[in-house]
């Protein structure tokens, strides 16, 4: 990836990493908790946005219900931590396995359809799941599950306390970076090539001898797993889960994040998540109606710059390098 797009993405990665390192040191010196928790939350929702971008930006499938898997991960993790054992490895491992099964199975429903039908089916699936959780007393109904114990992550080098904000921030950073790296690695494999090709021209692929359903199913399952693992971290951060995690607003915010950051760039969604979480927090100190402003920004981005922030940077770099856009 020595082309212009690759260079811009690499540069964005460095910028994000440097900004994270600087803020981390500043935060540590200031003895802060609030901003570490905020940053952790932005990473968690960045993971959800990453899953949406894998589907939308790479394979060309708009998922309006990714919160289903995010919420699934959060609830499974919360139940295991509370009822079985407060173990990080048990929770994330179980969520990884369970979300692979759930993602694979629901791909049989969602991938029956294409284009706008796919968007509406994923929307409907998530909506039904959200209503079911909302009405199930065993899952705490509208209150959700509260009182999730503090988790100490056992490692060979000693325990990591998730109640310690900077420590859990680093853990989350590690998990999200791992998910990001894995997705980026897969894009460079032959299957990643087929994903790109599906987005470019799905109808032509079977004519040159490629199966499209298998790779699409793989992408869908992977996106479900990424969203679920991100969700699994949520109860460790907040100590509770609620049905709002499955609502359309969660899925919708993830789509907004992806479009703002840059569709198909993978790093864009993480960037967008940091930006939006920060923005929400700042606007939230003035007014509780931050959705209006976010919505307006979103509409403006869709109309004026549908490629998003990182997308614009890539476009510029390409123009400068004389490459085709």
């Amino acid at each position: 990836m020595a082309d212009a797009a690759g260079r811009v993405i690499r540069r964005t990665e460095y910028i994000l990493l440097a900004a994270t390192a600087i803020l981390f040191v500043v935060g540590l010196m200031a003895g802060d908790t609030f901003f570490f928790r905020l940053a952790t939350e932005s990473l968690i929702f960045g993971g959800l946005a990453l899953a949406v971008d894998l589907l939308l930006g790479i394979v060309g499938l708009l998922s309006l219900g990714q919160a289903l898997y995010f919420g699934f991960g959060a609830y499974v993790s919360a139940l295991l931590l509370k009822e079985v054992a407060p173990s990080f490895w048990l929770a994330t491992g179980a969520v990884l396995a369970a979300s692979a099964v759930v993602g694979y199975l629901s791909s049989f429903i969602a991938l029956r359809s294409k284009g706008v039908y796919f968007a509406l089916i994923t929307f409907g699936l998530a909506q039904v799941a959200a209503k079911t959780v909302y009405n199930t007393r065993e899952l705490g109904a509208s209150d959700g599950i509260i009182g999730i114990p503090i988790v100490v992550i056992g490692t060979p080098f000693g325990g990591l306390d998730t109640a310690n904000a900077p420590v859990f921030f680093l853990v989350t950073l590690g998990v999200i970076a791992l998910l990001y790296g894995l997705t980026k690695y897969l894009l460079a494999t032959p299957m990643g090539g087929i994903w790109h090709a599906v987005r470019a021209n799905e109808a032509r692929l079977p004519f040159i001898g490629f199966d499209t359903l298998g790779p699409k199913r793989a992408a869908f399952t992977l996106a479900a797993m990424i969203a679920a693992v991100s969700g699994a971290l949520y109860p460790m951060l907040r100590g509770f889960v609620s049905p709002e995690l499955l609502y359309f607003s969660t899925s919708g915010n993830a789509v907004v994040t992806v479009v703002l950051g840059g569709v198909g760039t993978l790093i864009g969604p993480l960037f967008g998540s940091a930006l939006l979480t920060g923005l929400r927090s700042v606007i939230g100190t003035w007014t509780e109606h931050h959705q209006i402003l976010i919505g307006l920004i979103f509409v403006a981005v869709v109309v004026l710059a549908p490629r998003g922030i990182v997308g614009i940077a890539i476009e510029r770099a390409k123009r400068r390098a004389g490459e085709q856009i």
């Binding site: 708009l62 706008v116 968007a119 409907g124 109606h289 307006l296």
Partner: protein
């Protein structure tokens, strides 16, 4: 035998009538969605918010002591130009993009976010309920029906027939169908396609607003009312076939009857998963819905 008739009369009949009045309302929503999709190829994610706009406007106008009948006329008249402007100045800007489906969907979705929060800002988060304009009940076959629901059904059916008549029996409808069938050919034959697009979108928006006015006295008015209703409308449109008027009507009646009759046996909580299950089944065996688009028929 009498037990059977009693259960038919006192249990099933009211439930069927209730389902019908909801069905008529759903059809009004679904018609706008399906016409907009049939002509413009746009999934209007903010359709539910236009429905809410109609309901909120009716609350405000009724608060000014206007009569319900005047409001019923005024609200679509106010929303029509709003829809026209949104199509002309927002949707048209991304309409010719390569990813038109996704971009227009995202755009209307953004609009929905803005509108929903705007309602909260202007009218507050608490539900409001305008007074029922027609009170009283009518006895029919020994059961009492609220008169407003009967009015809703009659008026809604007339509207649906009217829409059908406009689309299939008038020159304006022929132009819309022609533009949906072949945009370039229509344009070269002198159809002002751009204006047709904007007017049709505005028509769909006005229809959703009208549904909002009609349903406000029954379901009350709150910021997320559109989102709660839109899933059913989308399901109806998908089952009936995106772009098909006949499909929307039949699917809406089928699905709302399924909902209201099934709720006699299972908790109404499960009616959404049930309806959604039907949609998945239809998509599995007939991916384009029960009926094709309206340009075909």
């Amino acid at each position: 035998m009498t037990a059977l008739f009693d259960s038919l009369q006192f249990i099933y009949a009211p439930q069927i009538i209730n389902g019908l009045s909801i069905g008529v309302a759903v059809i009004l929503m679904a018609l706008g969605l399906t016409i907009i999709f049939g002509l413009l190829d746009v999934i209007n994610m903010s359709h539910g918010e236009f429905y809410a706009a109609g309901a909120y406007l009716s609350v405000t106008l009724l608060g000014l002591d206007l009569s319900f009948w005047l409001v019923l006329v005024l609200v679509p008249v106010i929303l029509f130009p709003a829809g026209f402007l949104i199509e002309r100045y927002l949707i048209q800007r991304v309409f010719h993009h390569r990813d038109r489906h996704i971009l227009t969907l995202l755009l209307t979705f953004g609009l929905a976010i803005v509108l929903e929060d705007a309602y909260r800002l202007v009218w507050g988060a608490n539900p409001m309920r305008p007074e029922t304009p027609i009170s009283g009940a009518t006895e029919f076959l020994g059961i009492y029906f609220p008169q407003y629901r009967l009015f809703l059904m009659a008026f809604g059916s007339l509207l649906i027939l009217g829409v059908w008549w406009v689309v299939y029996k008038t020159p304006a409808g022929a132009i819309v169908r022609a533009a949906a069938y072949d945009r370039d050919m229509s344009a070269s034959l002198g159809v002002p396609v751009k204006a047709v697009y904007a007017l049709t979108f505005a028509f769909g928006v006005a229809l959703a607003g009208l549904a909002g006015v009609l349903l406000a006295p029954i379901y009350s008015v709150f910021p997320t009312m559109g989102k709660d209703f839109i899933l059913l409308a989308f399901t109806v449109v998908i089952v009936g076939g995106l772009g098909s008027i006949k499909g929307a009507v039949i699917a809406a009646l089928l699905l709302t009857q399924l909902q209201s009759i099934s709720s006699l046996f299972i908790s109404p909580v499960w009616s959404d998963p049930l309806v959604f299950g039907v949609m998945v089944l239809v998509l599995m065996f007939r991916p384009a819905g029960l009926f094709g688009g309206f340009k075909n028929g």
